[in-house]
Each structure stands twice: as C-alpha cells, then as structure tokens.
Amino acid sequence: MTAGLPLYLLAALAVGGALVMLAARHPMRVALGLIATMLALAGVYADLGAHVVAVFQVLIYVGAVMVFMVFVIMLLDTRDPSFVARYSRLLLPGVAAVAALVALLGALLVGRGVAPARVAGAADFHLQPFSAAFLAEYWLPFELTSVLLVVVVVAAIAVIRGRGGRDG
C-alpha cells in the first residue's frame, strides 16, 4: 500500500515539530514543538486506521504528559543559563554520530526494504474489537498498570519530600 498525501503532510508536520524542538531557545517553545509532533503522530495513527491508539495518544500524551510538562516549565526561572546557551560542547560530535547512525539505518531500510505484509486490514484497532480483546485477554496487564500508577504516586511523593520530609 502506498502512502497518500495526508500521510506526507502529517509526517512533514511531525518532523517540523521535532526540528523546532532542536532549535527553540525557550523550553515552552520546545514543549509546543513536541505537542505539534505528537498531534501529527496521532493523525498518522488515525490515517493508519488505529483510531484507538490515536485517541490514546491525544488523551495520555498531549492531555496528561505535556500539560504536566508545561506546568513545570511555567514554574521555572526564565533567567536560567541553559535557556540562553542552547547547545553543549557535544554539538558537533553528537550531530556527526547521529548522522552516521541515520545513514546506516537509512541504507538498511532502502537496501533491504520491508517484507510484504502477510495479513491485511486494521479492523482490530477499532474500539469495539479492541475493548473486547483488551478486557478478555489483557485484563491482567491492565490491572498491573493501576498498581504501577499507585507505586508512581508514592514514589513521586517520596522523591519530593526527601529524607525525613524536611522540605515539607
């Protein structure tokens, strides 16, 4: 199956948001670039037919994680030196190493390609079959995530309070 025009536009938006993340000085603009990328990826998932994943992407990533991030950025001191000087001294070696990695992966992707799909259709990613399978087969991991979230709440409180709760 070939990629259509919407997919190209969404991919361009995603890469553009990622480039904004690299170039922007203020963390708030970096966060907005990341939000643009995440929304574009949600569009890509919807274009693929994975509507459930697209909704999760918007709800959990854009709705929860990035709102948290934006609140934290608003709490920070804007005169921080890392807001002014964006890049560390690893700029050139880092970009060179990642460029080599991308060249290697790209050569593999173009040279070998991707094996043709054996199964067609994304029907399982619609809400009804997904929820049925989710609660019938994957209920144990689902319940374990709630345990994980409780552990995270306790751990976050422990990290913030520190030893003996001296910071209140």
Binding site: S82, V119, F125
Partner: protein, 100 residues
C-alpha cells in the same frame, strides 16, 4: 513509496532528532522532552507493524507503553525539579560530578 517503508523512515528521522536533542541540548527539561520524542518514534514503529500484522496485542501493548511513559514522566520531572532546586539551575553541565 511503500507506506510501511515511509513510516519506518519517519520513525528513524524522529528517533534521530530526539537523540540529537538529548545529546546536544543543555536544559534538563528539554532533554526529557527529547527522550519523549524518541519514545514516540518507537511507538510509531510498533503501531506501524501492529497494524500491518492486524494484531490486537499490538494495540494493547501500545496502551501499556503509554501508561508506563506517563508514569516515567511523573517520576522524572520531580527528580529534575529537585536537582534544579539544589543547584539553582537546569543546565546539565552543573551536574557533571554526578557521574560514576
């Protein structure tokens, strides 16, 4: 261009941009956001191949990854805030003696 190949290329591009961000940026919060970008690129790969295989397990797994990523951010941000409170800066070069 084949759709799967295009999406794999997009995931490689996003992962590489996130990796560059983690390496070159100085602000600890920006580095965290670049790590989120890398996670997103990997999730894009997972969704691409799960859709191709028509597997419900892929969708369930993506949901679990989202929850774990949210949990990871909920722990990482307090740690960054504690470091920032201690050193009065978010510049990671101020934390150089944490190594080892």
């Amino acid at each position: 261009m084949d759709r799967t190949q295009f999406l794999v290329a997009l995931a490689i591009a996003l992962f590489a941009l996130g990796l560059v961000g983690v390496i070159v940026r100085r602000n600890a919060l920006v580095m965290l956001m670049c790590m989120e970008l890398m996670v997103n690129a990997v999730v894009l790969l997972l969704v691409t191949f799960a859709v191709r295989a028509g597997s419900t397990a892929g969708a369930a797994y993506v949901f679990l990854i989202f929850v774990v990523a949210a949990a990871e951010i909920a722990i990482a941000i307090p740690i960054v805030l504690l470091l920032a409170r201690q050193r009065r800066t978010l510049d990671v070069s101020a934390f150089a003696e944490l190594e080892g």
